[in-house]
Symmetry: C2
Subunit: 231 residues, 2 copies
């Protein structure tokens, strides 16, 4: 039996609590970071709070082993005086959308092999995708994730805006969006690139710019240039 305390009632805390609760060999407690007056003794305390609250919250915790769940904060952001670690599920979470934890990579970090094994065991209850990642590497993953998730989502947003402006049903793009995401699993994106930018099709690029707003034009131009400079 492993005992866990989850601190934090945001998306990650809520979803981890739900996921862990179905596992019989775990004893899970879940509190808000506002309720840090009496902290139960557990094997692992998981702080799932916003990045800028990690220092303050961890400094108030004296249980044996404290980990945070942040992609962008180093292990040293933890200010407890006991053992430290990181338990970072690499995924985008929304409260109103169910998440399949078996498909989520866990990025783990600890200061001893024993603690690494403990985190591995814990992550292993939820997922088979376990990675040992240093604080420096995790920072890079977090930036890569901004491109693969936040910026990609913004590309979808602009594509939808263009469809809406021209009375085109947005779902017409879904198969293309799926195929683009699927293709890079078999073909590196550098080789999967198609379209007017990589073809240096000046006439089509000019026609496209004509249809866009000034802000969209700025993004179109810089990304077209970037695709062309990559080749």
């Amino acid at each position: 039996m492993i005992s866990i305390l989850i601190v934090g009632k945001g998306n990650v805390g809520t979803l981890l609590n739900e996921a862990f609760h179905s596992i019989e060999t775990l004893n899970v407690q879940w509190i808000s970071s506002r309720d840090l007056i009496t902290i139960p003794k557990t094997d692992i305390t998981i702080i799932a709070v916003s990045d800028d609250a990690i220092e303050t919250v961890s400094s108030k915790i004296s249980t044996d082993f404290v980990v945070h769940t942040s992609g962008s904060m180093p292990l040293s952001a933890l200010k407890n005086n006991t053992r430290k670690g990181v338990f970072y599920p690499l995924q985008t979470f929304s409260k109103n959308k169910k998440v399949d934890f078996t498909q989520i990579p866990f990025c783990l970090e600890a200061t001893t092999e024993k603690d690494e094994k403990l985190l591995e065991k814990l992550a292993g209850f939820l997922s088979k995708k376990i990675y040992h990642i240093s604080s420096e590497q995790r920072k890079a993953i977090h930036v890569a994730a901004v491109f693969a998730n936040n910026f990609t989502n913004h590309m979808y947003k602009i594509a939808h805006d263009i469809c809406n402006t021209h009375q085109i049903p947005i779902e017409i793009l879904n198969p293309l969006i799926n195929e683009t995401a699927e293709k890079i699993k078999v073909l590196p994106p550098a080789l999967a690139q198609t379209g007017p930018a990589i073809r240096k099709d000046v006439a089509t690029i000019k026609n496209h710019l004509f249809l866009l707003t000034e802000k969209q034009q700025e993004i179109y131009t810089i990304l077209t240039k970037s695709i062309q400079n990559d080749t």
Copy 2:
């Protein structure tokens, strides 16, 4: 029985020929645009050639009904003196990757209702996603597709570059990429947006820029600004 002639041996011509060949009520012939000396009489001639060859190739064809397969060219690019139409499958095609046509939206255009019905029937053999789209709308779809496909693929490319620089296995990003593509089917991308840009998390943005090359920084900055101005 509908008889079809496909002109063009590129990706689209090759894949359409393959797909149509398995349908018993179609009689399919397939030639290269170089073999336009004797053109068989068919119900529909599909010109699947590069955009800038459509005018020349179509001007040499005198069969009854000629359509092109391009997303960015108007119906009027066809220079045959007979009936004209457009048969545009909205997808990214690579010769070395199989494509499931049942998932592909077909954007159809013709000048008479009878021709529209004929194209509907033909597209209906392959897919249930049939759209009647004007030349103006198709142009807009093509620009939207550049964002949803070409630019999104470039975001993946940069994300992979960052992972490679820091010795991180690129497949760690796949579940995030999948979830990002899936999420917008239930949540509009404007509402699905997460990350430091939308949170106006200046400290994280500054840390991220520090990890990037100059060219990556330029893209990061303009997209962060664009996400923030959207809200």
